[in-house]
Symmetry: C2
């Protein structure tokens, strides 16, 4: 905890979210579906300094419910960005040497154009008239932001879960733009069970009578019941059974003996209720629908012939990591990805990390995980930046 | 499939559900909480013949959403009872030699008194004014039914999941009434993750605006959205990830290429939707609340000193079984139970069965599982019935 202006050591300090209009009616975003979208405004943050060669940029891709505020402190805030333990001076993504960009996703609700934005044709929020997009579209918006910042090539694309899918997609489609990719507890395709959980979450939202076919803003209501149920369920999949046992067990909330009723009684119920309620303050139901659906359809190796031809050109260096207690995207997902990359001679390092915290581990300070990323980033820096003539003692 | 009156070989044939009023205002059911409940009517079925010594009775305990109709065919029905592959002539619970009783649970909605029944004080359905009850109360209602049928002692109490909890509870509290217990993919206590899933399911129901605090019947509506979401989510936990992969994978429903939208597109979505909808036709939301909550609170070994004293008197023979792909109540749950029983010298046989079908395996015809139960039942029969003088060549 800190107060504004006194960010703790190891923090990037005071930051603010900026916005850029990257696509306009004249130059709209052409989605992979062929549909056109404009305007597209993107909320983003940067940390650290871009070097003279513009070769030290790292893109941080957020997951389903993240935002552009990955590190440091907003004015007046006592809590830092969502990946502050990972990004900062001396941290795995070291802002003493790297220039870091993080942007809210297309379709999101934290500053980037999404279903809650006004549809220029009507002035009303898009709702479900917002076009469906792909992970490729998410990446194309990120690429436009990079161009806007004057950067042609990333030292690394880094992300966990849906964030990892973006790093993977970027590297496969535009390997010349990505020196390396860090793909954490992610997957190249959702399993039937993964899709099932997302389907039920969407069902909870869409069957909420306040959903109004996605036009709840116009009705002055919100499908809060559905969205909080969706979030509570998703949260179970982010923790491991063992982690939940350690954290909550069968302990009761503020009581010695059970109250025997339908009110919250067990600690785990109280925790999930809190998660469900807190989520409503910061997230939009339609964004939840779009960003879960984009994951369901992600399948870059679905057509293996086409994918194989692309992979032959990929020399992006991959670090793929999983956590042994993650059951949302378990180690088998990462192994499948690694197998495909390696079969096409894409340079890939794979590590499974022990952690009891399930899928959420990628957001936590797990020492072996952080050490592995830090060491990989140093190696990539030496390769890509140390390799630039005149770059100093880093040159091998 | 069969038509009425031509039940296939191996079936108990035509059956019907009977009803008995087991508790009245004069002789109410005294719940473990001390509350009184009357009247209590119970729906039940029986298969096979009770022998002269009344020593061949087997009680089948149903799980969360089961009912009294475990085997055979109701008049005009083309589908048999829910455990027809398990109960019948020559089947693991062999009705050629055993007398089988199955009853809808207290708090259920298939003929036994529950929250949808009229509250005698008001004439309206109880709703959430129905008293909360325990697994011990479920068993006490079963015991009253046995007395009604003139049976003092069971050859076996048999059940899966919540059914197994009842068999366990009966054996611990009244071992003189239960020669043996078959406890399949069950547990002696829910984990935090188990409770979490149930809590989210209840949240989906109770936050449905049509729930009306449990008084939806009086409002002429039903919390169908919440109940179907609850059922869809629960269904994911009944199947294994591997089973879902084999059954659905990422295949699309009736299409070659994805439609890219929020309608049902993947087969697994279609399946879950169907499960959610079909469930509404046969189940009551309040019963779902009560019967999930009764599981949350079940913890017969929570006070191990008290439980230890009880277990010293237990000579019920246990067969405890789990399935290797079950993650609702995984093998660790069964092992914990077996460890506690064995530590108190309760005779117990444990088997983990290989099956890709997850928790649902207990309802399916898994050969090793059926063989193991059949052999155990034969052994129990030889012990308990073969031991009766004059019982013929079975006597050892």
């Amino acid at each position: 905890m800190t107060t504004a202006g006194t960010a703790p050591a190891g923090s990037v300090g005071r930051v603010e979210t900026r916005r850029a209009t990257l696509f306009t009616q004249d130059q709209p975003l052409i989605l992979e579906s062929g549909q056109r979208l404009a305007p597209v405004e993107v909320a983003y943050e940067t940390y650290g300094e871009l070097n003279e060669q513009r070769s030290n940029a790292v893109f941080i891709h957020h997951a389903l419910t993240g935002d552009a505020h990955a590190a440091g402190y907003h004015e007046g805030a006592t809590r830092p960005g969502w990946w502050d333990n990972f990004i900062g001076p001396g941290k795995p993504v070291d802002t003493d040497r790297l220039f870091v960009v993080c942007a809210n996703l297309l379709g999101g609700c934290m500053g980037t154009t999404g279903p809650a934005s006004p549809n220029p044709e009507t002035g009303d929020p898009y709702g479900l008239r917002f076009p469906l997009f792909t992970v490729g579209d998410l990446v194309n918006v990120h690429r436009a932001l990079l161009r806007h910042l004057g950067i042609r090539r990333l030292l690394a694309a880094v992300g966990g879960s849906l964030g990892g899918m973006q790093a993977l997609q970027w590297s496969i489609e535009h390997p010349d733009e990505v020196h390396s990719a860090v793909v954490v507890c992610s997957t190249a395709r959702l399993s039937a069970q993964n899709i099932a959980f997302s389907a039920v979450a969407r069902e909870a939202i869409m069957r909420d009578p306040n959903f109004h076919g996605g036009d709840y803003q116009r009705h002055g209501v919100r499908p809060d019941a559905g969205l909080s149920v969706a979030r509570m369920m998703a949260h179970i999949t982010y923790l491991s059974e063992e982690g939940m046992r350690r954290k909550f067990g069968r302990r009761l909330q503020d009581r010695e003996s059970p109250r025997f009723g339908f009110d919250v009684d067990f600690q785990v119920e109280s925790y999930l209720h809190h998660q469900g309620e807190a989520f409503l303050k910061r997230f939009d139901a339609n964004s939840y629908l779009y960003l879960t659906r984009v994951m369901d359809y992600f399948d870059p190796f679905g057509d293996m012939v086409a994918a194989g031809a692309k992979l032959e050109r990929v020399d992006t260096r991959f670090l793929v990591m999983s956590f042994d207690s993650d059951w949302r995207f378990d180690t088998a997902h990462s192994r499948d990805l690694v197998r495909i990359l390696a079969a096409h001679r894409v340079p890939v390092t794979f590590r499974e990390i022990a952690s009891p915290h399930g899928h959420d581990s990628f957001l936590l300070e797990v020492p072996e995980y952080h050490r592995t990323v830090a060491s990989f980033m140093r190696r990539m820096e030496a390769e890509a930046i140390g390799g630039v003539p005149g770059d100093g003692p880093g040159r091998v």
